[in-house]
Symmetry: C2
Subunit: 163 residues, 2 copies
């Protein structure tokens, strides 16, 4: 039985191994690979507007944040980031978090969701977000330095949420 | 005789009227229209990596900042923002600042420059950046709430700087 709930500060102890595995690999997120736990807490728990965890029997399988993507005249568009534990991949955990985040975004009054930097070689992410209704509205040539593939493109993906 | 130099903290007293006029109009920058002077200082002077002013006989005609657009695998792409005093428009001040910023960007080791959010109705900006060699690599539908035109698109513009 999977449950999604707001993250508490103490949850970061269990989020950190997931965050660290993904970020230190340097293949999908534009965070420094040597981001430490305090910096990770800042990025994942403090800067966003809200952070959630998805858990099963008290074990955290993944986490996501939601924040406002631009201020002022751009503040009706939100941005989210999602991470899933490597042990929990292939179970639809990211899809479940996305569905939840889309409802939260609407509840918070956002009209659209934008992903600023989807690494083009992260094919499972591109496929998932496309299935979730996102359009690829931009492509940044050679904007990401992939540890194995060198300079690769990053995509901007966008979904209008309002009717 | 126009000169571009690094901004000092005290310069913000003279930058602020330019910043305030542009930001309070709410037509071109995704900053809150009621951004106050302290918040403006933070956005323009503190958060960026470097901030410059362009002056003539001790009078500041404009200012720009440069910063890293993404961390980690994205940290070879910079972002800049430019503001020109309404009294100094039409004199090529923005072009001069851009030429300067492009050299600074290369000196700092950046390989590309990205503008994340060019409001599509800001035609003079779109024209200028296109003339300066930027490609429009993305379009965010209805991502900006313009005070006169309602929801309008924002553009992502990108220029590769390295050879």
């Amino acid at each position: 039985m999977l449950e999604i709930r707001l993250a508490r500060s103490a949850d970061f102890e269990k989020i950190w191994p997931i965050f660290h595995e993904i970020v230190s690999a340097g293949e999908t997120y534009a965070y420094a690979r040597d981001t430490n736990q305090d910096q990770g807490f800042q990025l994942w728990m403090t800067l966003p507007r809200q952070t959630f965890v998805i858990e099963e029997n008290g074990e955290i399988l993944g986490s996501y944040f939601i924040k406002t993507n631009q201020s002022g005249g751009g503040d009706h568009v939100c941005n989210c980031g999602y991470m899933v534990s490597s042990q929990a991949r292939g179970r639809g955990v990211a899809s479940m978090m996305f569905a939840h985040s889309q409802n939260i975004a609407k509840d918070l009054g956002y009209l659209a969701m934008q992903f600023n930097f989807v690494v083009s070689t992260n094919e499972s992410a591109v496929r998932l977000w496309t299935q979730c209704g996102f359009d690829t509205v931009g492509r940044l040539p050679k904007a990401f330095h992939h540890p194995a593939h060198g300079l690769v493109d990053a995509l901007i993906m966008y979904k209008w949420l309002a009717n």
